[in-house]
Subunit: 228 residues, 2 copies
Amino acid sequence: MATGWQDIHDEALRRIQSRDWLPGALIPNEAALAREFGCARATVNRALQSLANAGWLERRRRAGTRVTLSPQRRAQLAIPLIRQEIESKGQIFSHIIISRQNATMPSPQRAALGLQDAPNAQHVQTLYLADARAYAFEDRWINLAAVPDFVAAPLDRISPNEWLVQNAPFAHGTLDYSAAPAGTAAPHLNCQPDTPLMILERRTFGLDAPVTHVRLSYAPNFHLHLKI
Amino acid sequence: MATGWQDIHDEALRRIQSRDWLPGALIPNEAALAREFGCARATVNRALQSLANAGWLERRRRAGTRVTLSPQRRAQLAIPLIRQEIESKGQIFSHIIISRQNATMPSPQRAALGLQDAPNAQHVQTLYLADARAYAFEDRWINLAAVPDFVAAPLDRISPNEWLVQNAPFAHGTLDYSAAPAGTAAPHLNCQPDTPLMILERRTFGLDAPVTHVRLSYAPNFHLHLKI
DNA sequence: GACTCAATTATGTCTATACATAAACGTAAT
DNA sequence: ATTACGTTTATGTATAGACATAATTGAGTC
């Protein structure tokens, strides 16, 4: 009998998906499964933890393990590093800096980053290209108090996005996808101001301080694709 | 010394985020870390596996463990069970069936589900409401060959989405978010036909056969919010 | 019936040990 | 050089045993 934890994982998943184990129902405990599969309890534990982690099972001490009632499946969304997004499609990535200047950060961005005062900031507008065709337009504010070196970043050679990924350690952030008219991004993306575009707003925070606020307007027909 | 695997996980993550361990660099091997933390290798293994799983580390046999070069962070997106989406905001969920009829599935949906022939299908249009305000408009095709019982589903009491979640075991599917004009969904969502909306297209497959194709048009100002 | 508290139990985790396996390394043969 | 092959090494995984911890159960009490 093949009794790697993966095999137990797969068999348990099969029982869940085939409704052998019904949603909400208790499944046999670890000791029983270990007996059934002829392996140690730790091996069963590993398999079930993995399934719980993926959202198929809910486990509580003493109460046992049950199949998740509404299997609110989770999709993993890889955070778009635009270069990879483009190159993974076999296209050539490039970028153009539209504008770059120091300025005080405007209120909306300050609020989004939770900044009380108006720190020195740099405002960069970038156009990302896939095979020389407009892919996305980026409007970015960088908090220079968090990454002072950014003023010296050679943005002609490396995109703001990549420079920050490589040089600014970061802990967490938020993403916000929405739909909106192209507006001022229209001329850069070769569309009409009222063309619906997918918008990504991203806030990034370092270990201590807010780092950057980005509004990314994707070219028309962009799709955010996920598998579950 | 507190040496649960979580503690080791946290300390390792701290070293990554603080650039104590630089991107791309090798980190000490499990035996060395076990010595440092005064615990068994298995405990270190658990911590590092967890970090690798989350995308912070890359591990290869014999080659050791290194910090991911471009920490392509992953966000976990909970698949929208609309009821939960609405109720989690403290609003009251309800739905209205706009239309429901048997028909042969049209080509675009057939193609999306990879169906060769045109099986019997049911077409359901549903409006989802949050506190009696339009939240999303759903246009759904169900492959009756996969879930024949659907014809008897009491959709006045339970939404198509929920009925399928509860009654159709499913294995996998795809999600596609995009931006598009409201079009024919406009009157249901109280907006203009050219208002930009967030569109979710979902394909769901059972263990054997394709189950359903859904096009969901969210009301204006919908945001898909993720944390990383 | 309502409440308290101890016994029970399923999962959570750690340990020491062992062996499996992939991949890098070094050496020897071509 | 290049190739082939055995050695070394770091991770992957299994095991038995032990104790920790949360939570339900149930017995005893008011």
